[in-house]
């Protein structure tokens, strides 16, 4: 099944590890394998690699080294941000209120819901416009003295739309409320200078930018009240216990470097092909809409809804034809439900069930995309015939 003729168009779900990143990681598996907490030289060498990685990541963010905490993934970073800050703010200021947008990744929304159901926090959901974008004025209307944290995703993974973080951050700053953003999808493509974005917390995950799965990081601005949720040996400034996964942390730092140096080239490469893809699909497939903002969106990202199509079936038909895409509406084991994100944007279920996400990456050529757009109309037609809803 590792067929080289399969065309991968799902880079938003994950990316292959860059060979240069893999090279950088290898020595740390069984040559330089020390535990960075150890006193001996072995440990010191591991610690050096760890801190070098931290330096590199913080420099890219424009942050201090002690403001970067390594985790196991973007989801863990989101969990630490939401829970850690909510509990600390409750302790300090009796904060009882959390604001998140209607288009957050589940790692943010599910954590917020648990904070509500188990711990009594009041959750308020920011509405979004038809492009899935948050209006800063909605934050202004809802933010309160007892707001523990505000969390708005930088660029949504399903629809690619980019939120106005700076304006939101400024509002949070005036109220003294910590502002978190899930930048897991965005960090691969967009600027991440934390001061310009006016964020206090930012989550990233390596496997979205040609690093390995299983490692992420959380930026935490100095002075932000936060409690650890994984306690133990005191690593990561007492904020995240656990022996450091040095090879993976090295991999994250290396991949993050390349994401910056290669950013302009990559973005130009993708966005031209991506724009051509969007135009061709809108023109050639009937009853199709682009979802998300047409221009304020991730450069490699295209997402659509097709009326009267079962998204799950469409993906399987595409796979059978050799195109690997995703949708964001379907779950692998259960019945597909329309995505909350699309519903929040005002898309009706009849359309929302037929969602398709196509995301480009390093290996994507314009020939591959031509092949895809040529075959898509026929495949959508077959999907429509199978599901006469």
């Amino acid at each position: 099944m590792n067929d080289n003729s399969l065309i991968f168009l799902d880079y938003a779900s994950t990316t292959p590890v860059d060979p240069r990143v893999l090279d950088a990681m290898m020595p740390f598996f069984n040559q330089n394998y020390g535990n960075s907490s150890s006193v001996h030289r072995f440990g010191q060498q591991a610690e050096f690699a760890l801190e070098q990685s931290r330096r590199s990541v913080s420099a890219i963010l424009g942050a201090k080294e002690k403001e970067v905490v390594f985790t196991s993934c973007g989801s863990e970073s989101d969990n630490l941000a939401l829970r850690g800050v909510a509990f600390a703010r409750r302790q300090q200021k009796s904060a009882a209120h959390i604001i998140i947008s209607a288009v957050e990744h589940h790692a943010v929304s599910q954590t917020a819901y648990q904070l509500s159901s188990l711990h009594g926090f009041e959750i308020e959901i920011l509405p979004v416009d038809k492009f899935g974008i948050v209006d800063p004025r909605d934050v202004k209307e809802r933010i309160r003295n007892d707001t523990a944290i505000v969390s708005v995703i930088y660029a949504n993974n399903e629809i690619g739309s980019i939120n106005p973080l700076k304006e939101i951050g400024e509002i949070c700053r005036t109220w003294g409320v910590p502002f978190h953003t899930d930048a897991v999808q965005a960090a691969a493509h967009l600027p991440v200078a934390v001061d310009e974005l006016e964020v206090d917390l930012m989550s990233i995950g390596a496997h979205k930018f040609y690093g390995p799965k299983g490692v992420g990081a959380l930026y935490i601005r100095e002075g932000t009240p936060i409690l650890p949720i994984q306690t133990g040996g005191g690593q990561e400034f007492n904020l995240r216990a656990g022996t450091h996964n040095i090879p993976y942390i090295v991999g994250l730092a290396k991949a993050f470097e390349f994401a910056q140096t290669d950013q302009e080239y990559r973005n130009n490469h993708y966005s031209t092909i991506r724009d051509h893809l969007i135009k061709t699909i809108i023109d050639s497939v009937p009853y199709t809409e682009l979802t998300g903002h047409p221009t304020m969106r991730l450069p490699n990202h295209a997402s659509f809804v097709f009326k009267g199509v079962d998204g799950n079936t469409l993906l399987m038909l595409l796979d059978a034809a050799g195109f690997e895409c995703s949708s964001g509406s379907a779950c692998k084991t259960g019945s597909p439900e329309p995505s909350e994100v699309l519903i929040a944007m005002g898309i009706s279920p009849e359309w929302a069930l037929g969602s398709l996400r196509v995301t480009l990456g390093q290996q994507t050529s314009s020939e591959m995309v031509d092949d895809f757009v040529e075959n898509l109309p026929n495949i959508v037609q077959r999907a429509r015939e199978l599901n006469p809803i």
Binding site: M1, D310, N312, T313, M316, L317, D319, A320, A321, K332, T333, S335, P336, R382, A383, E385, L386
Partner: protein, 365 residues
Amino acid sequence: MSLSKDTGQKIKVAVAMSGGVDSSVAAALMVNEGYDVIGIMLRLWSEPGSESANRCCTPDAMALAKQVAAQLNIPFYPIDAKNVFYNEIVEPFINGYEQGITPNPCLQCNRHIRWEFMLNHALAFGATTLVTGHYARLESNSGRIKLLKAKDLNKDQSYVLHVLDQEQLSKAQFPLGDYTKVEVRQLAKDFGLPAAEKGDSQDLCFLGKGNYREFLERNSTRPYEPGEITNLKGEKLGWHAGLPMYTIGQRRGLGISTKKPSYVLEKDIEKNTLVVGTKDELNHRILLANKVNWVSIAPPAEPFRAAVKIRYKSVEEPAEVIPLEDGSVEVHFVHPVKAITPGQAAVFYDADICLGGGIIQMAIK
């Protein structure tokens, strides 16, 4: 045989997988023979809350089917069939009992779910046929496709496949037809397949926990009304708990005491009466069947001799099959046959060949 004559490419087939040993071995055999194989599995309807209790196609079964597919290096596509399965199979099943008949839902399923809904998906995926782990054989030399019994007569499933028409049969393949069950289990070991060791599912796939009576009680459209139990003379013998709860030929659980053992003879829907009688009275020589599907032979004009099964697991009884003008048939048995049940299928055989079959409407002395 697995390469197309026109293109020289591997022929693409879809295997209906269940996680069980039969469909897993069927998939492995097709891969071995050089076909381009994809695996598909339906998510069927189950009573809310009892998804894991079904006899077939549970989430665990799907995990197993996925494992087999990955091992065979074939793509695996789960397809949601909950609504169509409920509408075409479960609802008619419940309604059939309420109308006093004993339906066999597997017949509808083969005709409308497997070789219609599932086949349409398979074709949309680019496959040319739907392959299943049924024990049966096909033969097509003289234009007409013939349905034959499997080599393993104990496992033969031609009975439930008799409902398929020529078009459907042209898009069906049964790789297990030439193997016995014992050989299939050995093949599973040889292929190293992680097929479940649990026994073959004999009962209806959607029943979940309990038997069909409990299922009907939970899912009927209205509560079942008790009524009278009488004999053939109309003499009242007791009360029944609702006609759907009883089967033709049933002896136990009637709640009446008679000199000789009593058997359920028929269900009178209009009077809501359960008619019981002696073993002798349970025997009939003639049945009427309609909705006849002719498989291995063209619709015959003249009566012919055949061996007839009146339910999936019955023995074959010698009979004469008389086609009637309106397309239905009368079956005259050589010896009296017991417990002929309306709603079940009467299927006609000539040695190995399954000729066709129809739905039993009534039994006549």
